[in-house]
């Protein structure tokens, strides 16, 4: 059975990943997802970004369920 989550990447995070959206096998939690992303895209380690799950910010580690949308939101500074 498929258990996919959907990633939306913004700014520099999208550049490092090479695309703005992708679907992944659910790794279980937001922390596990971060580790998976760092493993697959080591350049992400040097970036600071905030995670939103289903369009809501998530301070701390939370459990991921099938079909959830996780946004990777880096800060922008330009003006």
């Amino acid at each position: 059975m498929s258990n996919l989550i959907h990633i939306k990447a913004f700014g520099m995070v999208a550049e490092k990943i090479g695309k703005e959206s992708l679907s992944l096998e659910n790794p279980g939690t937001t922390e596990a997802l971060k580790n998976l992303l760092f493993q697959n895209y080591p350049e992400l380690r040097s970036l600071k970004f905030t995670l939103a799950v289903n369009k809501k910010l998530t301070p701390g580690d939370i459990e991921l369920e099938e079909g959830m949308e996780i946004a990777l939101l880096p800060p922008f500074s330009g003006g």
Partner: protein, 355 residues
Amino acid sequence: MNRFERQVILNGLGIEGQSKLRSSSVLVIGAGGLGSPILLYLAAAGVGKIGVVDGDRVALSNLNRQVLFGEKDLGKNKAENAVRYFQEKYSDIQWEVFPEMIRNDNAEELISAYDLIIDGTDNFPTRYLVNDACVLLEKPLVFGAIYQHEGQVSVFNHGPSACTYRDLYPQMPAATEIPNCAETGVLGVLPGIIGNLMALEAIKVIAGYGKPLVNRVLFFNSLTSQSYEVEILPNPGAREAMPQSMASFMITDYELACEGIKQLTWAEAMRKMNSEVAFVDVREPGELPPLECTGLVKIPLSQLENHLDRLEDSEEVLFFCQSGIRSQKAAQQLQQVYPEKRIYSIRGGINALKS
């Protein structure tokens, strides 16, 4: 008939909203790519008093997006030039011009004199500085920033329980972590759109009109024309990490803080104290009062680079000095050599301990 007739008849804004705009004051920090459209539309909408802060001068490469300026303005100060432009255009706005960058030592004077602050600056240290000053001085802050083809907009600190920039981005990025417009390029329309959204949010907050982006951040992508909205929640840890008073704000070096130099209060430092932690006084010999306690290491800042090896074995290092400024520099020096160590500067130094 007056110049606001078309917006006064608008459902929801009305005479009342217009009179709120008329009696309000807005400080626009940064008169560049974002500041240009912000100022154009706030002035057109009839905000009663507008302050413009910018210490930068107009350069040729600015002209694709900083639409307030033209070829004849090259080399002139942006804030002065912007205000001169508007003074010729409208007679009913009170202008204040600050041809300087916002800093720790002018932030309180500038910000406390206005009802609403708009951040159109272009670097992380300044964005955290403006956010913290607005939190401490209890001013609503309209925030916007761009990167390549994307922008983000939010309204921070509007009301007692409202979220701030630190709730959205608790970890301060290094000033160099993300390339700026000069390195990556920017199409002028993007800051035009984001700046207009910021002006819109400012008008909504002032006039009590519509639903401002409070506890929400809006992302916009100019290539796909898509937007994405995210709800922001309070982050208690992030709030503790910011200066808790204007005195503490004054001695925070935001450049260093963005480089990852963390500060602790004496109370937090005391809780960390144990035999594994190096506790280092970086004051020069003879500074008063002397502090004596077991385990205290004394290395004046001027000698630190020759004595870094004395701290080699400590995984955690706490620096302090007289007022908390030199200890931030010491922390940065050590961090560069030992990036794995947990290094802190004690906020306010000995002066904070005395009070």
